[in-house]
Symmetry: C2
Subunit: 227 residues, 2 copies
């Protein structure tokens, strides 16, 4: 469903060009569960932004569900992201002036879901994340791990067919992290495509497939026994 071919991403940094991705070939099929690992700075978050149609390659092609992404208009890309993709960003990107509840409702607002249904769904998701009693708190009134869980709840709001999660358990204690991962794994068993960036080898081992980056390149791409 997603095919990157010869993808480069170059930033024009203050000290000269930074080639964050250097010729990535990667195909991920519908319903797969892929872990992406690699050292800090190796290009994982950049790769996720391209997979999620949030950014465009500097070179190469990205075909998403049979459609070349560079051929899509801004409006089409925004619609694809809203309806089909759930994002958990490395630094959450919650809206600071909206409560946890409103943050989780936001993708449903854009998708045109009626008020009653989106409120019910947002509350159910927060409850699943153990945050029912934090629904009205602003992000600044939440702990780091609580913000991360709000970001996860928001990613699931529109029941996306693809979830891109950048270190979704980074701020969580192991018990809470395990609950979150089991929820994501169960969504994958229902057919949701799941791509998780992680620094945690234990988390990485849960996926049937492991892609490792180094300096903007794929250095290994392997099936693995899950454990």
């Amino acid at each position: 469903m997603m095919a990157l071919r010869g993808v480069w991403k170059t930033y024009h940094g203050p000290a000269g060009p930074v080639h964050a991705l250097r010729g990535i070939d990667l195909t991920i099929g519908q319903g797969e569960f892929v872990a992406i690992m690699g050292p800090s700075g190796s290009g994982k978050s950049t790769l996720m932004h391209i997979l999620g149609c949030l950014d465009v390659p500097s070179r190469g092609e990205y075909v998403f569900r049979g459609r070349p992404v560079h051929g899509m208009s801004h409006a089409e890309l925004a619609a694809v992201r809203n309806r089909e993709i759930g994002f958990v960003f490395q630094n959450f990107h919650l809206l600071p002036r909206l409560s946890a509840l409103r943050n989780v409702e936001l993708p449903m607002v854009y998708a045109g879901v009626d008020r009653r249904s989106r409120r019910a769904r947002a509350l159910a998701l927060l409850k699943e994340m153990g945050l029912a009693d934090r629904a009205d708190h602003l992000p600044s009134e939440l702990s780091g791990g609580q913000r991360q869980r709000v970001a996860i709840a928001r990613a699931l709001a529109n029941r996306p067919s693809l979830i891109l999660a950048d270190e979704p358990t980074g701020a969580l204690d192991s018990a809470t992290g395990r609950d979150v991962l089991q929820l994501l794994a169960s969504l994958n068993r229902e057919g949701v495509t799941l791509v998780i960036i992680t620094h945690d080898e234990q988390v990485g081992r849960m996926a049937p497939r492991m892609v490792r980056l180094l300096d903007g390149r794929v250095v290994s791409d392997e099936r693995q026994v899950q454990g």
Copy 2:
């Protein structure tokens, strides 16, 4: 050097009072290395803000180096923080319009260090963090783990006698995380007091002393064999 007695911290949240700390008794001596662990929302970051004189208890006392903190003026607290304490915050709190280099220099600017010395020290710290070639990048032009390392470099800038680090390796791959922890452990061997909040049991085991929080209380406080 730091003694909390009967410390409560109550936030007035939108859904009613939240008792983030509920009667904390904790004494940490000069030169100790303490790990603080506990579930998401258990009060760890709140505890760190009180230890670091960034916030005041709602009830109870905090004596820092023999001086009751509630007796200090704003100016005195700011001076203590700047000269004696290095903070690594859970969400980094880098200034978005300053480069990595300038962010690391900032505590030294406040401490009155001359331009040449602070630039040399900031560059040396960034080099130690593997970020020499990112000195002029803004935080938005850095990866998550690179921002974390800039935050760590900044915490060390004024050679503080106390380092309070809230999940300092959360965004780092294991190799980079290990390097950072070894640097912090070596500072502790030189006499720096080190308090690390972590969700990672492996990181926690590196400290000779482990304090665990649950629902705003200390539930265990133990010497442990380091490993």
